[in-house]
């Protein structure tokens, strides 16, 4: 059924349709509306057979989820940014224990400086923890991915993170098609755990594993994610067959067939990129783009197949490996191993800075004419502010950097009174 709702609400409806049994919640902007929506559904009785637990921290949230999932209940939680870091130990623990928890990440920047707006630094911080990481381009896809996520998680006994851009998607009202309970039930069978805490058949879960076996355990986790590379497209195809739309999958190419320049990006910015691609195509440029749907496991082979015909690739990153440059770019580079291509890393949208179609068109045109000379380009960087700050430091200026910049921008008063 078509509805015009906030992204968070669309996700809440999707999760509710998946018949979750335990939902634990700790508030953090910008995911809060999701768990509030679910909490209301549980409290009003609209979502039955589900316990909603208000916990005292994100660490507790994922820990409750671990206990619940290990006991055979389909379990869900959500977080962002600082909250994801606060539960970091549990993130690794859940993956290591092979528990099929589904968690929404409302992507938000990580401080310091504290920032509530969107970028991908939070998901990136946990990229090697062993969770599957899926990225949504639209609110429809965010909705759809949660349904696919439970199926994927339970098929592999591996937790799944569904990543959606904070504010840009979570707080945007747009049209979504909410599937019927019958269709979701047909796609997602009841949870049949591979391991479960049950007094009737007691098992020990979470033993210490030493040097004699740890490598094998980790190899099997890696192998599991490689299996996911096959399963993700399969489940997406099945989803399309049942629900009638393309959603999820490893990646989504757009006008790449004869493209000389291909843009690679994660998440909602792909929409703006596609508008820029259309505008530049109309002006004669052979440009295309590809949105990465699955960041972990990273679709090396599939991406290679899309990019190998191009001459140039521009990777847009809403994240930064401080001291090194790109994170997504690393995966892209690996995919292109042995293929000679001009590659550009562009850091953009950090801390919620808007990525405009105009900026992107300028960027892609510059790339096409060899105008991107730095190994890493920071889109729309305010060079004057940076120069002034560096000069201030050179002169021995004291005080925190962030506040000094805010003062330059006039956001903060120089002095009070």
């Amino acid at each position: 059924m078509l509805k015009q709702v906030e992204g968070s609400w669309a996700v809440a409806e999707a999760v509710a349709l998946c018949r979750p049994q335990v939902i634990c919640a700790y508030p953090i902007t910008p995911q809060t509306h999701i768990v509030e929506g679910l909490g209301e559904m549980v409290k009003s009785g609209a979502l039955g057979g589900c316990e909603f637990i208000n916990v005292e921290s994100e660490f507790a949230a994922l820990s409750v989820a671990i206990g619940s999932s290990a006991s055979g209940a389909r379990t869900y939680t959500a977080t962002s940014s600082q909250g994801l870091l606060f539960m970091a130990e549990a993130v690794y623990n859940a993956a290591g224990l092979g528990l099929p928890i589904v968690m929404t990440i409302g992507n938000r920047a990580i401080g310091a400086p504290i920032n509530i707006w969107n970028d991908h630094s939070d998901s990136m911080s946990m990229r090697d923890a062993g969770w599957i990481q899926l990225f949504a381009e639209t609110n429809q896809e965010a909705l759809d991915l949660h349904i696919q996520a439970f199926r994927l998680a339970e098929a592999l006994s591996c937790p799944v993170m569904v990543c959606m851009d904070g504010f840009i998607l979570t707080h945007a009202y747009e049209q979504v098609d909410v599937p019927s309970q019958a269709d979701v039930d047909a796609y997602l069978p009841p949870f049949a755990p591979r391991q479960v805490l049950d007094p009737a058949e007691p098992v020990t879960i979470g033993a210490m594993v030493g040097p004699e076996a740890f490598t094998e355990v980790k190899y099997l986790a890696h192998h599991k994610q490689l299996r996911a590379l096959e399963l993700i497209p399969q489940l997406a195809a099945e989803f399309q067959a049942r629900f009638g739309r393309a959603s999820g999958g490893l990646l989504r190419p757009y006008r790449t067939e004869d493209a000389e320049l291909v843009v690679v990006a994660l998440g909602s910015v792909n929409g703006t990129v596609q508008e820029a691609v259309d505008a530049l195509r109309a002006r004669g440029m052979r440009i295309g783009s590809v949105g990465i749907g699955s960041f972990r496991p990273f679709p090396l082979a599939a991406l290679r197949a899309v990019l190998m015909g191009a001459k140039r690739v521009v990777v847009l990153e809403k994240s930064l490996a401080v001291g090194l440059g790109g994170i997504l770019s690393d995966g892209v580079r690996k995919a292109l191993s042995g293929i000679a291509l001009q590659g550009h890393t562009v850091i953009c949208g950090l801390g919620g800075r808007a990525i405009t179609q105009k900026s992107l068109e300028g960027l892609f045109e510059a790339a096409a004419r060899d105008g991107l000379t730095d190994p890493v380009t920071f889109l729309d960087l305010n060079e004057a502010v940076v120069a002034r700050e560096l000069e201030r430091e050179r002169q021995g200026g004291r005080g925190p950097t962030a506040e000094s910049i805010l003062r330059q921008l006039g956001t903060v008063a120089s002095r009070i009174g």
Binding site: E51, F59, A60, S63, G67, S68, T75, E89, P199, G206
Partner: protein, 328 residues
């Protein structure tokens, strides 16, 4: 002068005794006991925690007709009971992290409830480190929500598994690896520390109790009583650690008894924040008798007696006696 003659039994009620009516026998004396923590674990000789855990979990298993799931924090108990590829646990058991046993247990309880398995009960257990320090946030959260979990803390008063470092349960003056017996104030500083049983009471939860491996029947009774109650419950068990305390492995129960009889470790029960019962001390002993058996307090006695600090410790014991009415 007439003074009341105190009679008390020992031998008849020793914990393994089967020469009693069935309803007076301990759980451990039964051949049908679960042996939840079975032999083959790697605990040190004389480990108070291994003893306490076996008694506690077997009592819980009987009280719940074996419908029990245990959630264990990282620590000695977890490490010595599950040396890969073996496990000593004969029950459904999970170890997640150091600081989240209470939260994981809350999750297990919720999952059982939502699946209609209302007879399955949950215990969370951990050492003092995992309970009073790193697990404190999750513990308080579980208490606050009144989740149906019994949390058992095995208190050996330091981070023993990692090499005897100080925790917020380490008593004043005790030597640990991070409060060494050097300098003008050797051992742990006074004026620090956390009384988690009292904090648990402040949460107003249905049941709080302290117990000791010196009185194993009392320990079993308290666990049994706790399992008959629904909601958040907490039992704090004093368990000597020969290695960390520098006491003789054969003295574990003796040391535990002296802690109780000096008044330093009061045995009491509370419901909804009010003390409902306390075990009287039959024969009070001065704290010295307890402290002298442990090398972690050796610097209080040699090269000379530290009268001031010993007096301070004695005063703590006296306060407990007064507060809980431990002596008639």
């Amino acid at each position: 002068m007439n003074s009341p003659v105190k009679f008390y039994q020992t031998g008849t009620f020793t914990v393994g005794n089967r020469l009693l009516d069935a309803d007076l026998r301990s759980v451990q004396s039964a051949t049908t006991r679960t042996n939840s923590l079975n032999s083959g674990h790697r605990a040190c000789q004389g480990c108070g925690e291994a003893l306490g855990a076996r008694y506690a979990i077997d009592a819980a298993m009987r009280a719940t007709s074996s419908q029990l799931v245990a959630v264990n924090a990282t620590g000695c108990l977890e490490v010595f009971s599950t040396p890969y590829p073996e496990t000593s646990w004969q029950i459904a058991w999970i170890h997640s992290l150091f600081g989240n046993a209470a939260a994981v247990a809350s999750g297990v309880a919720a999952a059982m409830r939502v699946q209609g398995r209302h007879d399955v009960r949950v215990i969370a257990q951990g050492g003092d480190g995992g309970t009073t320090d790193i697990g404190f946030g999750c513990l308080s959260g579980m208490f606050e929500r009144n989740d149906d979990v019994l949390y058992i803390c095995y208190d050996n008063e330091a981070y023993m598994n990692t090499g005897v470092q100080r925790s917020s349960a380490t008593p004043p003056a005790a030597r640990t690896a991070t409060t060494p017996a050097v300098g003008p104030h050797p051992g742990n500083v006074a004026g620090t520390g956390k009384n988690v049983p009292l904090i648990a009471m402040a949460h107003g939860i249905p049941y709080v109790a302290t117990a000791s491996v010196a009185n194993l029947r009392d320990l079993e009774d308290k666990v049994t009583r706790a399992m008959g109650i629904h909601g958040a419950r907490y039992i704090h068990i004093h368990v000597p650690c020969p290695l960390g305390w520098g006491s003789a492995p054969a003295d574990t129960i003796k040391v535990a008894r002296l802690a109780v009889e000096s008044g330093l470790f009061p045995l009491f029960e509370a419901e909804y924040g009010e003390v409902t019962a306390a075990t009287k001390i039959r024969q009070r002993v001065p704290v010295d008798e307890y402290l002298e058996l442990q090398k972690r307090f050796a610097h209080l006695f040699a090269p000379q007696r530290d009268d001031a600090r010993l007096a301070a410790i004695q005063a703590t014991a006296d306060r407990n006696v007064a507060r809980f009415g431990l002596v008639d």
